[in-house]
């Protein structure tokens, strides 16, 4: 397993946001969100471009023969168009083999773990060998930039992860566990690009912050225990814990509640919440260290939760 990421050039600072939103100072934004800046894709920059750049970087870094990739998976909620899938666009840009399949997964903050779990299963089936898993989102295009609760949090970005069966050093993906409370589906919702009528009522991304915090603090610790128990794992076995980088406030509360403040990672200062890319972006920075066992958790849109672990 190896990872590379891409961030768009355009940067939005806390100073710019504080000028726009009364009652906010750059310091307060950083203190509450843990974010100093977020990257926004240009008007003409789409997920297929960002995903392509991340994958290109990864292929250069690993020197991996792209002809050998036999499945391309893209996790996104901001696709270039209705059809064909955005993964198909990336397949073309990367000039992947005609014998490489591709599909999109419409998942957000839990999406990377969905991707890892599916890639692992495809390889374990024996029918596929080398999977390229890309995550990418341009939430900046779904957001009302005058809405402080979302404009301060989200940033655009993409990552690419190469998953192969016999990687030197025996890095690997552990068991996964997923869940959904669809009764809370409206807590994070955006109906752009949808066909449901009347389409003129389509609205930008709406987030019920208190509802999501409530959900996260009550569900995540409970479900984490189930995941650990089901797989005969102990939290102590993990060197690091990396949850979806939603914002500093929610992560601090969550890590404290679970009692893992010492190994829980908070790292979104220069990216903001990049949705399904938030976990791999941080994994990329720790992958070079000595062999580590990292517990991963995603939570958010759905509302969903997902757990897995990786030895990197």
């Amino acid at each position: 397993m190896d990872i590379a990421s891409y961030l768009p050039e355009k940067v939005i600072t806390n100073e710019e946001l504080a000028n726009k939103f009364e009652n906010w100072t750059p310091e307060k934004i950083f203190e509450k969100t843990g974010i100093k800046l977020r990257h926004f894709a240009d008007e003409n920059e789409n997920v297929s471009d960002m995903g392509f750049f991340a994958a290109k970087k990864l292929l250069e870094k690993t020197n991996f023969n792209k002809e050998k990739i036999d499945m391309l998976i893209l996790v996104t909620q901001s696709q270039d168009q209705c059809l064909p899938s955005t993964s198909c666009m990336i397949h073309e840009k990367l000039e992947l083999s005609s014998q490489c399949g591709n599909f999109d997964i419409n998942q957000g903050c839990s999406g990377y773990i969905y991707g890892l779990s599916i890639a692992k299963s495809l390889i374990a089936s024996g029918e596929f060998k080398n999977v390229l898993l890309i995550t990418g989102d341009t939430y900046s295009k779904l957001i009302n930039q005058n809405e402080s609760s979302v404009a301060t949090l989200f940033g655009d970005g993409a990552t690419a992860t190469l998953i192969v069966p016999d990687y030197p050093g025996k890095k690997g993906i552990g068991p996964s566990y997923f869940g959904t409370d669809s009764s809370k589906k409206d807590y994070l919702i955006c109906n752009y690009l949808g066909l449901k009528k009347p389409t003129k009522n389509q609205k930008p991304l709406m987030m019920n912050g208190p509802g999501i915090l409530n959900f996260t603090l009550s569900i995540l610790p409970k479900e984490l225990n189930i995941y650990l128990k089901q797989n005969n794992l102990l939290i102590e076995e993990f060197d690091l814990v990396l949850f979806h980088q939603a914002n500093k406030f929610i992560l601090k509360s969550l890590y404290k509640k679970i009692g893992i403040e010492d190994k829980g990672i908070i790292s979104l200062e220069n990216t903001g919440n990049t949705v399904s890319s938030s976990i791999p972006m941080v994994l990329e920075t720790i992958i070079q260290d000595n062999k580590k066992n990292v517990l991963l958790a995603g939570f958010g849109v759905g509302l969903s939760w997902a757990f897995t672990s990786v030895v990197i």
Partner: protein, 78 residues
């Protein structure tokens, strides 16, 4: 029965989260007289969970007028 000290401790932490001096926050404090915004609501939910193990919803909190209303909400759930 929730000890008064625990409630005071909760209020001190809430004041800190709202960037207020502890003495600026009492049971009589009206929420519209302090910087009670979406961030304050979120801080209050997290602190109520941490100190009392109860979950307050955004809807419940939106009906609160004073700090005492919030404490009563918590006490109902403990």
């Amino acid at each position: 029965m929730v000890p008064e000290g625990k409630i005071n401790n909760f209020l001190e932490n809430l004041a800190e989260a709202l960037e207020l001096q502890a003495e600026c926050l009492s049971k009589d404090t009206k929420l519209d007289s302090i910087s009670w915004d979406s961030l304050a609501v979120i801080s209050c939910i997290a602190l109520a969970d941490e100190f009392f193990g109860v979950m307050l919803s955004g809807e419940e909190l939106s009906k609160a007028i004073t700090i005492e209303d919030i404490i009563n909400l918590i006490l109902e759930k403990v």
